[in-house]
């Protein structure tokens, strides 16, 4: 299947209003979930991971409060248990999410020799830069849309992120 065909397929699926679509052809398989399904749509194939460009940006107003992170990133395990102490009750229902608006690489600091923009426990203001997402050599400072206290950093420095991937959890009352 060509890249173009995959794009066309995604368009078709999103237009029909389906929530999920699976297809298998030999070694090749495609799995599409639309926003209605998880508010996060990705295509997995044996060759590539294609971020979905919905033709109409029906992007939910982010941050979306009260949704637990969909598929926890494998990097989460790297968070030292000490951090648990900072969030005694793992009740994430009142937490806000800071998500990545683009596909790219997540960087916590402006350059390798500089400290991270934010860390767990920091209080951030709306509009404050929380990280950089690099995409094809374009460097994007991500400004937070929420204020509060950072309770969790979900991605490791220099790791790839998908569209709408949750990067930080923020406690608005923190």
């Amino acid at each position: 299947m060509t890249f173009k065909e995959i794009q066309d397929l995604i368009k078709l699926v999103s237009r029909t209003g389906l929530t999920e679509f699976k297809m298998k052809d030999g070694e090749f398989n495609v799995h599409i979930r639309t926003e209605k399904y998880t508010k996060e749509t990705t295509v997995h194939s044996t060759q590539q991971i294609v971020p979905v460009q919905t033709s109409m940006p029906a992007v939910p107003q982010y941050p979306i409060a009260a949704t637990p992170p969909p598929a926890p990133a494998p990097e989460v395990a790297a968070a030292p248990p000490a951090k648990k102490a900072e969030t005694p009750a793992e009740d994430t229902s009142n937490l806000l999410e800071v998500k990545s608006p683009i596909v790219g690489t997540f960087y916590r600091s402006p350059s390798p020799d500089k400290p991270a923009y934010v860390k767990v426990g920091d209080t951030i203001e709306k509009g404050q830069v929380v990280c950089i997402i690099e995409a094809m050599k374009l460097f994007n400072e991500i400004e937070s849309e929420v204020s509060g206290k950072i309770v969790k950093v979900l991605m490791e420095d220099s790791s790839p992120v998908e569209y709408e991937q949750v990067l930080f959890l923020v406690d608005p009352n923190g």
Partner: protein, 259 residues
């Protein structure tokens, strides 16, 4: 000086209208960032210096430029009409504008080395550094840094393959005139982008790609090599390579390098 050139030969209307010229500065991009932190400079504001002392390259690397020889400038945009997922178009329109300046000055063998370096034959004449600020799904601002080697003839030996417009032509150029050309061509391409001519921009960009349409060897991220033919880019900016088997395959930056 700059005003005169703008009004006559290269009449840009809004790019460079607010023209901030600094005798020297660490980095024009950093200067633009600090300006944006405390004010809202008009769209098309240019910060220019002929003595950039600590220019930024890609993520921590440096852009070297000898004082008085080259154009180093940053331009501020607010591309609110563009979806943030389509931001590779920013790379494309700037690359085309810089390329047009090179061509305008009689240098024929200029190409765009994916994603955003400008080459003359096999040597780099210009680098571009784009720094955006995103608030949710919208651009807050976009700073485009352009380093263009104009009259420099000697480069530090640590640079792999630099060249300049003078080295290519044997003549010196008026730096203000080059700036005025850049402002005009950047403005034109930006307006094409604003009018929604994204397919045209993508096609033009693709048509000027370095080593396009010829068989080439590439290295994979795992170190293995393969041959293929560069055919263009897709909307995300991935390089489309025609593989030996005949199909087009998109590659991201970290998946591939030229050999």
């Amino acid at each position: 000086m700059i005003k005169k050139i703008f009004s006559s030969d290269y009449p840009a209307k809004w790019v460079g209208k607010n023209f901030i010229e600094l005798p020297w500065v660490a980095s024009t991009n950093v200067y633009a960032t600090s300006l944006l932190a405390k004010s809202k400079p008009s769209a098309g504001t240019v910060i220019s210096t002929f003595d950039q002392q600590a220019g930024l390259g890609q993520f921590g690397s440096k852009w070297h430029s000898t004082a008085g020889k080259n154009v180093t400038m940053s331009i501020i945009f607010y591309p609110e009409f563009l979806e943030v997922q389509q931001q590779f178009l920013l790379s494309q329109f700037i690359s085309l504008a810089v390329l047009n300046v090179i061509l305008e000055n009689g240098i024929k063998d200029a190409t765009i080395k994916w994603p955003n370096d400008i080459y003359v034959a096999d040597r780099k004449v210009s680098g571009i550094l784009i720094q955006n600020s995103l608030l949710g799904n919208k651009f807050h601002y976009c700073i485009v840094g352009i380093g263009l080697n104009v009259n420099q003839e000697h480069f530090p030996s640590l640079l792999p393959n630099p060249t300049s417009m003078k080295l290519e032509t044997g003549v010196s150029f008026d730096l203000y005139k080059i700036i005025a050309q850049l402002c005009l061509f950047v403005e034109r391409e930006f307006e094409n982008l604003k009018r929604g001519e994204t397919e045209k921009i993508k096609e033009k960009y693709s048509s000027f790609l370095y080593k396009k349409d010829v068989e080439n060897y590439f290295s994979n991220s795992d170190g293995s090599s393969f041959s293929g033919i560069i055919r263009g880019v897709n909307i995300q900016g991935q390089l489309l390579i025609e593989m030996a088997e005949g199909h087009l395959r998109p590659f991201s930056l970290k998946e591939i390098s030229y050999r």
